[in-house]
């Protein structure tokens, strides 16, 4: 079967790629586009390490076909820091020691950013339930939750 041609936008840049019909978006990102920041932990949508944004909505890229990116806007971890500067969440993750091995970190950051866009003032419980789809085996989540709450507070302060 011939490959499919996909035209899409990734991290604000127009992109084109070829894919097999059964390739996932995660395959395309990692193997064809060189965007290996999104990780494969399970390929079944259980671990969240492959989290990306699709038209502003949080999705597992392992559960999305690459061909479905046609005409849509994708956001990945590689697009999170702008102009070489870390955003508040990235900075708080570093300050709070909210990562150990780092394999879940991309997905955690993408999911956390999606939360704060929706809810700039989440409670601890809201953070915990929102991030329940992102597995971390190293940290026990404590410092991740703290980093997200701190970043939220900082972002609220920065807003007029």
């Amino acid at each position: 079967m011939p490959k499919l041609h996909v035209t899409t936008t990734i991290n604000g840049e127009p992109m084109e790629f070829l894919c097999e019909p059964d390739n996932t978006m995660l395959d395309a990102l990692r193997n064809d586009l060189g965007l290996t920041g999104s990780k494969e932990g399970c390929a079944t949508g259980d671990c969240g390490a492959c989290s990306i944004m699709l038209d502003g909505r949080l999705v597992c890229s392992c559960l999305m076909l690459a061909a479905e990116a046609e005409g849509h806007e994708i956001g990945t971890i590689e697009g999170m820091s702008q102009g070489g500067r870390l955003n508040s969440l990235q900075q708080k993750f570093l300050e709070q020691a909210a990562l150990q091995c780092g394999i879940c970190t991309s997905g955690m950051l993408i999911a956390s950013e999606a939360l704060l866009k929706k809810n700039p003032n989440p409670s601890e419980q809201e953070v915990r339930f929102w991030l329940a789809g992102n597995l971390c085996r190293c940290t026990g989540y404590d410092k991740i939750v703290r980093a997200v709450l701190e970043a939220a507070a900082e972002l609220r302060e920065a807003r007029p």
Binding site: E20, R30, L35, T36, G37, S38, K39, E40, G41, C42, A43, T44, D46, C47, A49, T76, I77, E78, M80, S81, L86, Q90, F93, L94, E95, Q96, A97, L99, Q100, C101, G102, I103, C104, T105, S106, L109, E124, Q125, V127, R128, F129, L131, A132, G133, N134, L135, C136, R137, C138, T139, G140, Y141, D142, K143, I144, V145, R146
Partner: protein
């Protein structure tokens, strides 16, 4: 920067050197690496729990367009069964058969062949074309089944008590006279316990990329807890000399012990050699769950006797641990650690290593110790109840301290176990009120900790900054701690110290990241190397000033005259001395290689609160405090991270995680949906109390901290559930169906 600012970094929560790469998606894990001309490897795995392999026909697979190489056990170097060849704690006879089944396939998921092809899809298609002629054999998975008189024997050459047996090892730790001890005891509690196999659960599946060039030189990028282990095992199993294998440690996405052995690297190396192409192999989650790790399931019996005043006089434990397909379950941890927090005059602790048709166990955070502590610390709870003594008070009364001789051998130097108990007892958590259907449990734990081989090279750059290369993969933040120590010794900003993990051909031999050894061992060699460099810097300054090196001191990143008598000289900073290095004798740097000694064991005491939903049978941990003697917290953030991560894994083990098998002997829950690890909404914040009793045998007082925090958790949770419900669980996990069953059972055991 101001060279006279005091630079005290030990104990500071600095930003980890690898942090920015990890929050921007740039950190290169093994599966992120590619090479020109790269092809993909896939493994064909046995569907049977136990089968003799009569014949393997790979001809159809080899003819499939796109297939570049096919290998079977014939391609792997054989280690005959009659002669043991040890590499660390691993026996190469088992490793060679674990990476590729030789005579028999011993568990569902056991590799029988591997293929490399131009795409993953073609490789998978080729695996399906391999024809394996199996003679299916009877099998057993559970310990009780493997010990039955008519149980199928996995390794026929093995005998126990002069009969062929699945018991492939026994270990005993003794102290005093156990019979006399129990004869004297006024109160005795004896109980039996069972735990299920649980997986380490790292989020990153095993992965590697291997290139073997036409002149036979191999380069391996892989996710492991030890690039030197990868090199040595691959050399053994492929026949390539170690000097021709460069094993490059990729960032590792979690290991917890499970990446201390190889699965893919030797196969990818053989496929790369045969095909002439770089080969990438990445496991699926299902392969990880079926064929790697987990740790042992267990059954154990613990009996403890005490005087009415709470003095424990005798303790006996018998621990059976599932090894899986090959010998090597962590009986040492169960036997050696379980009673060690306590000063007990009469101890007998025995462990049995039991093979069965399940994947070979791999190390899991304090291997064996949580299993032993689960039994011992639950019995202690019952003993405290019987004696009407506060459970922490009972532990305090019997606590090991400086001078206590542990049953497994050593006599303790200054240790901080008592301090952990006192801190727990005085913690507001311990006296906080509990609500309805809530309960509180406590438990303690011990882990040996390890030292061993470590190497480091510290170099001063031409512009006066520092590069430190060590040889242990960094999982939990060891690079950050090394930067803190090196910067403090040199008296410079920690951001001027770059810490990297070298590959096997650029840094000296360094043992696995395991046994909680990494910071203990690597900070010892980094300290020695940095001190050598400071000596050189003082000599260089002395030469410039034309005074005696003894008259020069190093302070806040610069050489100073040691006293006014030495003369009046403006300080020479690290940058100034570095710029003059070549004129004054050459580049500045030092390498140190040591077999480090003096890694003292670690102790922790935990407090856990649970609330039980009696409608759904869900036990939730609602508050948790982990107290641990950490020696010295070089980077408190990552020390707390170790405690919090260990506690989370223990809560999973206690409440939900387990391998479930189908009737035909296969793992029925090989994915994260059904193998239920704790998610963010399952857990509360995990409070940490870092007790710092410095290790007298380490320059900074460091003790290993990574494994202790898993040891007490299973029993702390079990004791809390008992406290909440008045009912005790003697098997894990305490999952909703089991809790409901217990709640529905008539109340009859209370007076037992």
């Amino acid at each position: 920067m101001n060279a006279f600012t005091p630079n005290k970094w030990i104990g500071q929560r600095t930003i980890r050197p690898d942090g920015v790469d990890k929050v921007t998606g740039r950190a290169a894990f093994a599966a992120d690496t590619t090479m020109p001309g790269m092809i993909w490897g896939k493994i064909l795995r046995s569907p049977h729990p136990h089968a003799r392999i009569r014949k393997i026909d790979t001809s159809k697979a080899e003819q499939l367009p796109g297939v570049k190489a096919v290998i079977t056990a014939r391609d792997v170097v054989d280690f005959p069964l009659d002669k043991s060849v040890m590499l660390g704690i691993q026996d190469m006879r088992w490793m060679c058969r674990n990476v590729m089944a030789r005579e028999n396939a011993l568990f569902p998921g056991h590799p029988v062949a591997a293929v490399a092809a131009t795409t993953e899809a073609i490789a998978a298609q080729a695996c399906a074309l391999i024809d394996v002629d199996y003679e299916v054999l009877p099998w057993s998975i559970e310990i009780d089944d493997a010990l039955k008189p008519d149980a199928p024997i996995l390794h026929e050459f093995n005998t126990f008590e002069d009969k062929p047996s699945n018991i492939t090892g026994k270990q005993e730790v003794k102290k005093g006279d156990i019979a006399a001890g129990f004869a004297k005891a006024e109160v005795i509690v004896e109980r039996s316990f069972a735990t299920r196999p649980v997986h380490q659960g790292y989020i990153e599946p095993h992965a590697c990329l291997v290139s073997v060039t036409a002149d036979g030189k191999a380069t391996i990028w892989s996710s492991s807890q030890g690039q030197f282990m990868v090199r040595a095992m691959t050399a053994y199993l492929s026949g390539i000399p170690q000097s021709d294998i460069r094993a490059i440690p990729a960032e590792i996405g979690g290991g917890f012990g499970g990446k201390t052995i190889v699965y893919l690297e030797p196969l990818a190396t053989l496929l790369a050699k045969k095909s002439g192409r770089p080969v990438k192999m990445v496991m699926t989650r299902e392969e990880v769950m079926r064929a790697t790790g987990p740790t042992s399931g267990s059954k154990s019996t613990v009996k403890m006797g005490a005087m009415k005043d709470g003095t424990i006089v005798a303790a006996q434990g018998t621990f059976y641990l599932q090894a899986g397909a090959f010998p090597g379950s962590p009986i040492r941890g169960a036997v050696g650690c379980s009673f060690t927090p306590y000063d007990i005059p009469n101890v007998l602790s025995t462990g049995y290593d039991v093979c069965s048709n399940r994947s070979k166990v791999a190390a899991y955070r304090a291997p064996g110790a949580p299993i032993g502590a689960y039994a011992v610390e639950c019995v202690l709870d019952e003993l405290a109840e019987a004696l009407k003594i506060d459970p922490l008070e009972l532990r305090l009364k019997n606590a090991a301290k400086e001078g206590t001789k542990a049953a497994f051998g050593p006599t303790f130097p200054r240790i901080g176990f008592v301090e952990t108990l006192q801190a727990a007892k005085g913690h507001p958590h311990y006296s906080a009120p509990l609500g309805k259907l809530q309960g509180r449990g406590v438990a303690s734990g011990f882990w040996f900790n390890a030292g061993g081989e470590s190497s480091a090279q510290v170099n001063i750059t031409e512009d006066g900054n520092v590069v430190v290369t060590t040889g242990h993969p960094d999982i939990g933040g060891s690079r950050a701690a090394i930067a803190n120590i090196c910067a403090e010794l040199l008296g410079i900003d920690y951001r001027r110290v770059s810490v990297i993990i070298g590959d096997t051909q650029t840094v000296g031999f360094s043992n696995l990241t395991g046994g909680s050894r990494v910071l203990f061992a690597s900070s010892m060699v980094v300290t020695q190397a940095t001190e050598t460099i400071i000596g050189t810097l003082r000599e260089r300054a002395a030469k410039i000033w034309e005074i005696d090196p003894e008259a020069v001191k190093w302070e806040n990143g610069a050489a100073h005259p040691a006293s006014p008598n030495a003369g009046q000289f403006a300080p020479l900073t690290l940058a100034e001395l570095a710029s003059k290095a070549n004129a004054m004798g050459g580049p500045i740097g030092a390498g140190v290689q040591l077999n480090t000694q003096g890694a003292e064991g670690g102790f922790g005491t935990h407090i856990c609160d649970v609330e039980v939903d009696v409608e759904l049978g869900i036990a939730r941990v609602i508050r948790y405090t982990a107290v641990q003697d950490v020696g010295r917290a070089i980077h408190p953030g990552y020390v707390e991270g170790q405690l919090q991560g260990g506690v989370a894994q223990g809560i999973g083990w206690a409440l939900n995680e387990e391998y479930i098998y189908t009737r035909d002997g296969k793992v029925d829950n090989p994915g994260f949906l059904d193998y239920r690890m704790p998610v963010c909404s399952d857990l509360p914040m995990i409070d940490c109390v870092l007790v710092e009793v410095p290790n007298p045998k380490h320059p900074q007082g460091v003790k290993g901290v990574g494994e202790v925090p898993l040891v007490p958790v299973l029993s702390a949770v079990a004791n809390a559930i008992h406290n909440a419900l008045g009912k005790r669980f003697y098997s894990l996990p305490m999952s909703p169906p089991k809790v409901l069953e217990k709640l529905d059972a008539p109340v009859q055991q209370a007076a037992e």
